[in-house]
Amino acid sequence: MMTIVFSLFLLTMLVIVAVAILRTENLFTAVMLSGIFSLIMAANFFVLDAADVALTEAVIGAGISTVLFLGALALTAEYDRSPPVGTWVPLLTSSALGGVIIFATFQAPRLGDPSAIVHQHVAPWYLEKTPELIDVPNVVTAVLASFRGYDTLGEVFVVFTACIGVMALLGRVRPRRDSIKEGEFKKATDNLRHHLIPRVVGKMLVPFIVLFGLYVQFHGDFGPGGGFQAGALVAAGVILYSLVEGGVRGRELVPEWFSSVLVALGAFTYTSVGVASMLMGGRFLDYSVLAHDPVHGQHLGILVIEAGVGMTVAGVMITIFHAFSRRGIR
């Protein structure tokens, strides 16, 4: 009961924050609010027993996404100057959308209903078979890395694509026809070095964040966590360091060539596991054939692919951050 009440509170907060984001014209405020939005969302996920997702949403949604938005803001504009005209069509479209969903979900199973169909089919199989087939305590990891490992492979390539996209867009020297005057961004400070407290606290936090990231990486089989969360956490650590010490120092810590090699290497590792299992006589991504004992094979496969995922995600987030941060000072 308590959780439900808490959940209601969080959900209501979500709506309030969303409205606030919509109404503000200051983009900086909007970005900060959207960070808060993600944080509330993460808390709500935690209440709903989705620890892995909560962790991911907190790191990626509230952390990295906010930083990227801020980086983009520094390179674009601070105010939303949309003219207030022509809002009828969007209003009608979105109301219709909302109306349809509310109409439809009256028939949906209520929250937490154990007799809901989603809890009867497929999911029980995962819960039942994981100890026997994969033997890791965290069923989410088992499903993510093995049962639906192909999805996760795809997902790694989605972030990989985003990374090469950002690099293709922001990586190269700016073309001549750009209309921005040289030095327009130089006045924006690149670091927090003259702010003592944030600097000290930030610097102190960085090692812990990275350490926590590594813990999440290798503990993902047992508790919430895994490659995504770990990669994002490590990246967050590096990003925090760059924010505190400046982009130049940040790029000295993790050079760009290293982060982009990490990206490709992670994706390559994942695919290689798939190819290796094919070569060893199994289906693509069938880790059971990787060792003599199928369960051992699963462990090995999950370990390697989670490492690949972690590398790619960390590499991507760092590379993207660098691409944004460097763009301003060139």
Partner: protein
Amino acid sequence: MTLYDQLPALVVAVLLFTAPIAYMLRMHGFPWAAATAAVVTSFIVACSLAATAIGGETIIYEMGGWPAPYGIVLHIDALSALMAMLITGASSAALIFGAKSLADEVGEETAPAFFAAWLLCTAGLVGMVITGDAFNIFVFMEISSLSTYVLISAGPDRRALISTYRYIVMGTVGATFYLIGVGFLYMVTGTLNTADLGARVGQVEDIRLVLVAAGFVSVGLAVKAAVFPLHSWMPNAYTFAPNAVTVFIAAASTKVSLYVLIRVDYAIFQNSIANHEVQLTLFLVPLGVMALFAGSLLAIYEKNLKRLLAYSSVSQIGYIALGIAMTSVAGLTGAIVHMFNHGLIKGGMFMAVACLALRYRTVNVANLAGAGKAMPWTMAAFVMGGLGLIGVPLTPGFISKWYLVLAALEKGWLGALLVAVILISSLLAVIYVWKVIEVAYFREPRANAVPVTEEAPMVMLIPTWIVVLTGIWFALDTSVSVGLASIAAKTLLGVAL
């Protein structure tokens, strides 16, 4: 496990495996070579899959060795094989064709990223057509979408950027709609496997959520497929993308969304919702008819050749939508075969346009005066494509039109109306194709224009003509295209082969 058993996974794995390599090894020319080698390999694999599928066989490949519905399975039947062949074929042709023009437009520094994105785009599209899992479709849809954004934004004009942005917005909304639809389906069935979904949706007592799911999925895919009036992202995206990219995405990418629409609708909703064929008809026929007219009319008044062809694609997608909406073997055969044929036709035409753009440095129709004389082979390829759009015999367009009209005739008086619509729109195609032909062949170049005397280079002309001749081949010998399409249509409708 023999190599033969592994083919279904290979068709995607080859591409995914090569993409990071192409990105990492930054030697001159290597990314292009690696991408081409991988895509061609994938094409060969797709062809061998098609050879199996033409026997009416469905291949199920369990990813990770986990059986459906717990794991993700690849599900390859005639339809997937045909689409996989189209995608990888178009990708290979466009890459080989674009060896020179891409080096021109993309630049050495971005080349690794660009070709990796190309590989991922191909992988994403192929992944969508061979998978048997509704959520997996979403994942690969995102791979293909994100990489398509990258490819389009590589266009030389700054308007490429704003086109990319609009495409990102529309594409993401479309994909999210699809995701919402899949979520509702999961809510009522507890499964994500398409075959399992098809079996279990029928048992759902209250149909409301299923209907709304069908709505979300269809609208989302219609956005991604640029079905009129949700096409607004497409003309500019085609226009400002690098020329070889336009060749590829025009030939393959919107078709894949239509494929998913067919797949999801026929495998999941058609069997389980009463009167669903009426709903589908009510949804798609008006859109298709509007697309036919609006696309053709916009094309008639368009001055930019690439955008003209993009509008023509809008109208051609209308044909496919009509075919899907007819829910008959002939109609579906027509729709599927037209997806394939239109890919061939448009691919060839955009190749010809790329040749023209290389020499004329513009794709405004008015500036192409004299092209018929200066670049006879290029223009001949363009004319062949144009005749295909009209649906003249000896071009693949005729085959598709044949089946669509045949299907419409089965529908009685309403069908006669549809026949009229289909044919009137073909005649509108005559107008916009001829507009270009008259300028290119019979108008004297302006006095102040830089004279073009050189034909496009052989490295571009030969692939163009290979595509054109392949088109003619598929107009004469339809045993592969129509063969696969009719098996696909019968399988989807549950008719005995």
